[in-house]
Symmetry: C2
Subunit: 402 residues, 2 copies
């Protein structure tokens, strides 16, 4: 018998309880032991839930119960969740989480602690919801040197951009619609400003490149600056606007990581990723390009990734060799300053733009004001671009993904 | 030290040697032991190869060398490869293969033998080349009941269809181009008649649904019947022609499996899978839809999947719980006779078609002969469709993927 405790009975936590319950017989075939949900920790009671009898309010009940070998942390944030995760690992219990903030900020420490204690710290659900990406990156692509990861990592912003592109909604209207449909929080900051995508690219980059990359090291730009004019110009040259998290291994061994809106060509499979779906493209030196696609969020997809980790931890209790990455440092990650891209620029002042960028491709859209310009430059660094911007203030300035 | 022998020094076998060599330092970080290539078995010698000194011609050298714990079988076919695989497993060596024919025909027997001997039989590279799909299906999606698998499983046919759709080449011209580019064999039968896709859907279905499904149980239709007229009609209704392998769990527990060309809507991410790329869409009861995308063939992608399996076998030498599925039987798989689809029909005799299918959507294309019809029916079984075909002989008859 493998006893499991869930910390936090919110959307994901209750989904985990449901998936464990619904697929119990199926899961039994995957592990020798029965997996039993023993406790649910929450500050609230849930008298109407079928799991009401399992609810406890004191973490030490779980911490001190030697029968509990697996703790599922779905509290979120990096305060209480950090404390409970440390204590659970210290007590010799494996911890499974969907908490990207905690992994992005403290993954290195927690993986080391798990290794010391001979238990697992697993977080498949922290990136891409139900999409299997952490384990394939760690195992299936093990024979590759990973060269680059580029992903649509946030479902909320992808939904908003999709609605702007398809239905012609303004950013504000699309955001309101996303909130009404439950795809965006009432405070949508973490999504629309790119923080959520930033945490996820940090996790992927740390795993792929072997050293912890912290969110504060990753320049992050959200989608609040994307306008319908930009959507129209992108469309005019066969591209779509997508918020991408990227991590690229440089020849000097450092990792260039950032989050920003990009123009993505329609021929690129990432451009076809619509609505709340996520996709992560990985380039390895042997495998070439592979892409993982699916629902990036949602109760049951995320819960199913958590439960897959529970099964894994239950099966491999005696195995010591685990995922890990080394501590990072100031020299691990670099901003994309040296990264050459074609750039999309939109602003006012056609003559100044033509003088500054004679080598660029001009774009047009129906109904554009007479003094509006939009263009795509040849490949150059951000510094080279900004040097040419003297006396101009572009309204939008996004990289083109090539 | 983990000693490896490669059987067959063809495209994949030599790729495995290369990836082991190139990424040696990277691989060392993944396993405690060094992985060393000790033998290459082939009937030929390779005096100019850097691996020349490792070539042997007698399998018993490998079979009887207790130092060799992992055998990579890249011979192909189900004769010599079957004999050597059985003997290697009997001798207590793990076997890694890219040989889809062998797994599709004998996977159940070989997995059982591996389990008896406490070793591994792994075949990530047998489906989707370098795309991680076997392990995610077995592990990451373990918390799900798999409901359906639908895949573009053959790169050659996808290349041919892409060239017909994009460049307007006839089937014959597109095939010749694929052969000239090395994407199709001189004898392309296994690809264009769908046999290759059939083997792959058998492997995926056996793994996902737990009982062996044999190629002979899976009705298979290739793409030789697809014409440019069909491509044009599909385009007229926003769809693309794709060769799909499908396996669907029925409510009675049986698996409906088949391979056939389908009309796929442009909104479906499978429609964006072009050229030699493969993609496998999996639907689970918790996760919803996920898709795995990448190069379905090629020396290095396939080799990198083989080497990932080698690493896995090297890491988990003592672990007994492995992939498996039970023996199949006549009652395991059923043809798609009961599966309702919308159908695309093209043929001659407009009046007869309109009389037989008054409830259908008529399609048109520029330059169609006056007596040609093309239509999409409402959802119905194949039997219901054929009952309406009295006196008509459609030139093409494909399911629409909904």
């Amino acid at each position: 018998m493998v006893n499991v405790a869930i910390l936090g009975f919110g959307v994901v936590g209750s989904g985990v309880a449901e998936v464990l319950d619904t697929n119990e017989r199926h899961i039994e075939g995957k592990v020798d032991d029965l997996i039993r949900l023993k406790y649910i920790l929450d500050v609230r009671d849930f008298p109407d839930s079928p799991f009401a009898g399992k609810v406890v309010h004191d973490f030490s009940v779980i911490e001190q119960d030697p029968e509990v070998s697996i703790v599922v942390e779905t509290i979120g944030g990096a305060k209480v969740a950090l404390d409970f995760t440390r204590r659970a690992l210290q007590a010799g219990k494996s911890v499974i989480t969907s908490n990207k903030e905690l992994v992005a900020e403290h993954g290195c420490e927690l993986l080391r602690l798990a290794q010391e204690k001979g238990v697992s710290y697993l977080f498949e659900a922290s990136v891409g919801g139900g999409i299997p990406i952490i384990r394939p990156l760690n195992q299936c692509l093990a024979a590759n040197e990973i060269e680059e990861i580029t992903g649509i990592l946030n479902g909320t912003t992808n939904y908003i951009l999709t609605r702007m592109i398809r239905a012609g909604l303004s950013f504000d209207d699309a955001l309101r619609e996303a909130q009404a449909n439950g795809y965006a929080e009432q405070d949508p900051t973490a999504d629309i400003e790119g923080h959520d995508a930033c945490r996820k690219i940090c996790i992927l980059a740390s795993l792929a490149f072997g050293r912890h990359i912290y969110p504060r090291q990753v320049p992050t730009e959200g989608i609040t600056g994307v306008t319908l004019a930009d959507v129209a110009y992108a469309d005019s040259c066969g591209k779509k606007l997508k918020l991408l998290g990227r991590a690229i291994r440089r020849t000097d061994g450092k990792v260039c990581a950032y989050v920003a809106p990009h123009l993505v060509d329609r021929e690129n499979p990432l451009s076809g990723v619509e609505d709340v779906f996520n996709a992560i493209a990985v380039r390895g030196n042997a495998i070439g390009d592979v892409m993982f696609y699916g629902r990036g969020a949602g109760k049951l997809p995320t819960a199913s990734a958590v439960v897959a980790d529970v099964i894994d931890a239950a099966k491999h209790r005696d195995e010591k060799k685990r995922m890990f990455w080394a501590e990072g440092g100031d020299d691990t990650a670099v901003p994309p300053d040296g990264l050459e891209s074609r750039w999309y620029l939109r602003g006012t002042g056609v003559q100044a733009a033509e003088a500054a960028f004679p080598d660029s491709t001009r774009l047009s859209r129906p109904g554009a004001p007479a003094d509006e310009f939009a263009l795509v430059t040849p490949p150059m660094t951000r510094a080279a671009l900004e040097a040419r911007l003297t006396g101009m203030t572009p309204g939008s300035m996004f990289r083109v993904l090539d």
